[in-house]
Symmetry: C2
Subunit: 245 residues, 2 copies
């Protein structure tokens, strides 16, 4: 028998568990489309997006400020995406990755891990200490800190006042369709640089929109771009324009 | 008994039959999100998007250049969206509206009619003769011409050479992720103005992207913006920033 490697099946339909929030999902879908090498419609990935905007707020639940549990709705929608034909799932929301392991257990298809892919990308890029810009939910639950530890990468989060600035940018601006408060953003970043971070992850999809609109430099690693590139590769397509990741 | 009108039920989930093409669907989803009045994620419409990029080309089938029938896949996906919980459907693709009546018969929920809403919007805005910028499939099947006739609105399409220019813009540029050929676009528009059109419908979602990227003036009525506004209103939400429609 020839010693050929087993053929890996290329998945057919990407399911997107979205609406967390909606504009972030729009942007992920756009990145996916824009960065897939394509000469016609049919070269793109088939995608099913469940944009459940009314999913209860993830951060409020994780911090114990609300008892409305987003997980049950997410699990229900994930199952529905599988029924619909999705064979790989993506969740363009870092905060929701708090539920990654539990969700992973409930469905029979793989879920791209945005946090893991981002940490691996930072490490490959030579990062020594990664700063985390994310919701207080993501920060307090240690989603990025644990993943960094797993990969042996140093990590820091903004101090309390700076973290409040990050939340102001996310909830006071982007989620309401307003422009980000750049001063608040810079305050948060200063806190990370002061702790010796040589790179900062945009670990909230709303912050990826700040990069899109304000053109942040390579100090910032966009978890959304990382997820888009991972998805394109997972479907056997060629990513274009994301070479720096 | 009090003479109160029957309560109309506000729908809960918008199903989008998309991927025809993918970037047009991205843009429709973006318009929907950007133009819904919202103070938080949960104020947005719940949406399910079926972005079946691999749906066979609509224009090629309609013109008899290909035997690959897109309708069966569209009907299958529409049924799946209903199963998923959609109670109103939108199809952000003018060419696919060729199949509107047939599709309407196969599913038990209403489909927003992009062509009808656009013609009504033109008429309300005082248009006397509407020019049609669309794929050759849409033009040759008379989708817009018939709807204009139904509403008693004069209508014109580009001459043959100008129509080829429209197709060059759509297939040679936008669908490949390239910038639109502005000269080809202007040639097509001149043909409409020469026939006395006082307004032109961007009757192909790829041309809506030209408006987004190039900032076309009020001579152009964007069928995609019309569809987004219709959807927002259908879900009992308040549209913002589409007042001119």
């Amino acid at each position: 028998m020839a010693n050929t490697p087993p053929k890996t099946r290329v998945p057919k339909v990407l399911g997107i568990l979205g609406g967390l929030g909606p504009m972030a999902t729009v942007y992920f879908y756009e990145l996916l489309t824009r960065h897939t090498k394509a000469a016609c419609d049919q070269d793109h990935i088939d995608v099913i997006i469940n944009s459940r905007a009314t999913t209860p707020d993830r951060t409020a639940y994780i911090l114990g400020e609300s008892r409305e549990n987003p997980f049950d709705i997410m699990a229900e929608d994930a199952a529905r995406l599988v029924t619909f034909g999705a064979d790989v799932l993506a969740i363009p929301c870092n905060t929701a990755h708090y539920f990654y392991d539990r969700l992973n257990e409930t469905i029979p298809i793989p879920i791209l891990n945005m946090v893991e892919e981002t940490v691996r990308t930072a490490q490959r890029g030579g990062c020594r200490k990664l700063g985390v810009l994310a919701t207080t939910g993501t920060v307090q639950t240690g989603t990025y800190q644990r993943m960094c530890a797993q990969y042996g990468l140093d990590c820091a989060v903004p101090d309390a006042a700076a973290q409040q600035c990050v939340m102001d940018v996310i909830y006071g601006g982007v989620k309401q369709g307003k422009r980000a408060d750049r001063n608040a953003f810079e305050t948060a970043v200063r806190s990370l640089r002061a702790q010796g971070c040589d790179r900062a992850v945009l670990g909230c999809t709303e912050l990826s929109l700040v990069k899109r609109d304000e053109g942040l430099d390579a100090f910032y690693l966009d978890s959304m771009e990382v997820l888009a590139k991972s998805a394109i590769l997972a479907f056997g397509k060629t990513p274009v324009g994301l070479e720096e990741l």
